[in-house]
Amino acid sequence: MANLQATTESKPVRVVLILSALTVLSLFLLLPLFGVFAEALRRGWEVFFAALTEDAAFSAIKLTLIAAGVSVPLNTLFGLSAAWLVTKYRFKGRALLISLIDLPFAVSPVIAGLVWIMIFGVKGWLPPAMMAEFLAPLATLAKQAAANESCGGLFEGIAGWLADPKIVFATPGIIIATVFVTFPFVARELIPLMESQGSGQEEAAVTLGASGWRIFWRVTLPNIKWGLLYGVLLCNARAMGEFGAVSVVSGHIRGQTNTLPLHIEVLYNEYQFSAAFACATLLALLALLTLGMKSLVGRISGHSAQE
């Protein structure tokens, strides 16, 4: 008993600290969360569902899913490769690579969006006209494929885009901006994990005759699976919720280039508060789901890390 008292705070101090933590938690987290749901349902369930199924909302949800659906797998692949490279090998420029991976975190989301306009915009370094020229041979190929292949429709669509390649103020730009801002999540989660696990097991696998791919698949991957899942969850949450960078790059074309967060802003600016909050509940539910899965992963991985 004496030991316990020697290393913890006295009772009054503990009470004050816990109360302050709970107050901050309630004020900044619970209250807004509660507020979102309360406002969303203020005018009843019908208005709530109408707001979610309306055309513009539907396109916004679809666009958000597309942006996340492309950026999360891409950044997972990138994160795995970068973490593997950085933790299993030593090479010149390694420290630089690690810093560069953190770059999207250091940059303001607005800048992260502006950069693409600066590159791909009409007055940019690679304006649509120039891009169309570069892509012209591919466009003709696609047109030919559209005529001959079975999935002609797909190739038609591709050919159409290649002829008039819109990047900013269109879906590709939104995808690029989302990929950029969610770049580091998986890598940052995996690098310390793999660093602490070391290369011992991989080296053992090498001496036993396994090839690089085998080693990754059977030795490395099972060891990092929980960290990887965690990183993917965070990456996804940010990809779906990103506002700043996407806002700059999208052009806010209603029904076409609004993601869910952008759509919520539009509704709010048009004084459609209940509709805005109704859409916001989707993001709030995503947040709760992410947190729930995160703590589940945490508990399971806590069980499996017993040595």
């Binding site: 011992g200 080296e203 053992a204 696998a205 001496t207 005759g209 059977r218 030795v219 060891n223 040595e307």
Partner: protein, 330 residues
């Protein structure tokens, strides 16, 4: 399968880990690479394994006369046991041992039944029967080490390489496993090269001791040779306790604690002995160690048997006469 190492050098950046090292490891022998941290022994072992490659130049590694210098670890047919075992955490003991066999190309891979039988055979060899379904974190240190050994042996390697195999174990387990390894080696007769910084381990276990220091080999020989006839002060000091005496003419003399004798002060012979007073007595063990203080203030360490200690009935503060066993002059 013998191992021949010719003129191997290895530099990491500006740090020279190995400098022109050559060594012969006879077929079927158990050879120890012994030395302090930074002597290059682990680097040498890893180069033999193919986990590192020597610097460009004349250096090469031969297995039974065949040049394997350019062949990577996976294709050299070496069994490597790591200091911290490096067992696959998420696999069972059986899966760990079977790993080397399970990654063989289809054409060479044994059937599932054959792999299972081999795993059981190896578990029996390392005396771990019945533990096939356990996971590494459920095993003790000594058990994990034996699984690592079984895993390395599963692929029928040509040579066995061990990196400080007992370094992470308790002293008692270390001693037991050491004896077990010697018997095991005699049974399977595989050329074995192991790295250690523990001279007792090297002297007790190996057929051939390679003493290394500062990226070079200081001496090679069987345990008796290197202990009784060390070729340099470093080897002498590293292989056991040592007393260093400075003679009037400036020369250094080395004498081992057990090479000194203790007799009653009354028997002091000025021609051969030195008078000393017992400063400290340690007798809780197989031998008694005395720390004695000479008249000129220097300390000597003397080891005598417990029997002798009892016969002399010595205690701290007693005056005694120290002489070299065999009566050579001190």
């Amino acid at each position: 399968m013998s191992i021949s190492i010719h003129s191997i050098s290895k530099t990491f950046g500006t740090y020279k880990a190995l400098e022109d090292v050559s060594l012969e490891v006879p077929n079927g022998s158990l050879t120890a690479l012994l030395g302090p941290s930074g002597s290059g022994k682990t680097t040498l072992l890893r180069i033999v394994a193919g986990l590192e490659f020597a610097d460009d130049g004349p250096g090469k590694v031969l297995f039974h006369g065949e040049d394997v210098s350019g062949i990577p670890a996976g294709r050299r047919g070496v069994g490597f046991v790591f200091q911290h075992y490096a067992l696959f955490r998420h696999m069972t003991v059986a899966q760990n041992i079977a790993f080397g066999l399970s990654v063989l190309p289809r054409s060479k891979r044994p059937s599932r039944v054959e792999i299972r039988d081999r795993v059981h055979e190896l578990l029996g060899l390392v005396k771990l029967e019945g533990l096939d379904k356990r996971r590494p974190h459920e095993l003790s240190g000594g058990q994990r080490q034996r699984v690592a050994l079984a895993r390395a042996l599963a692929i029928r390697p040509k040579v066995l390489l061990l990196d400080e195999p007992f370094g992470a174990l308790d002293a008692k387990v270390r001693k037991d496993l050491r004896r077990w390894l010697r018997v095991f080696h005699d049974e399977i007769g595989l050329t074995t090269l192991f790295v250690t910084h523990d001279q007792e381990e090297a002297l007790e276990l190996s057929d051939q001791v390679v003493v290394m220091r500062n990226a070079r080999i200081e001496q090679v020989g069987n345990p008796q040779e290197v202990y009784d006839h060390p070729r340099s002060p470093f080897v002498y000091e590293f292989l056991g306790n040592v007393n260093k005496l400075t003679e009037p003419n400036g020369n250094h003399r080395y004498i081992r604690p057990h090479e000194l004798e203790v007799v009653f002060a009354a028997e002091y012979d000025p021609a051969t002995d030195r008078l000393a007073r017992i400063h400290h007595l340690f007798s809780a063990g197989p031998v008694a160690t005395l720390s004695v203080r000479l008249n000129d203030g220097k300390f000597l360490e003397v080891e005598i048997s417990r029997k002798q200690l009892d016969e002399l009935a010595l205690d701290t503060g007693d005056e005694v006469s120290i002489r070299v066993a065999g009566k050579a002059s001190m």
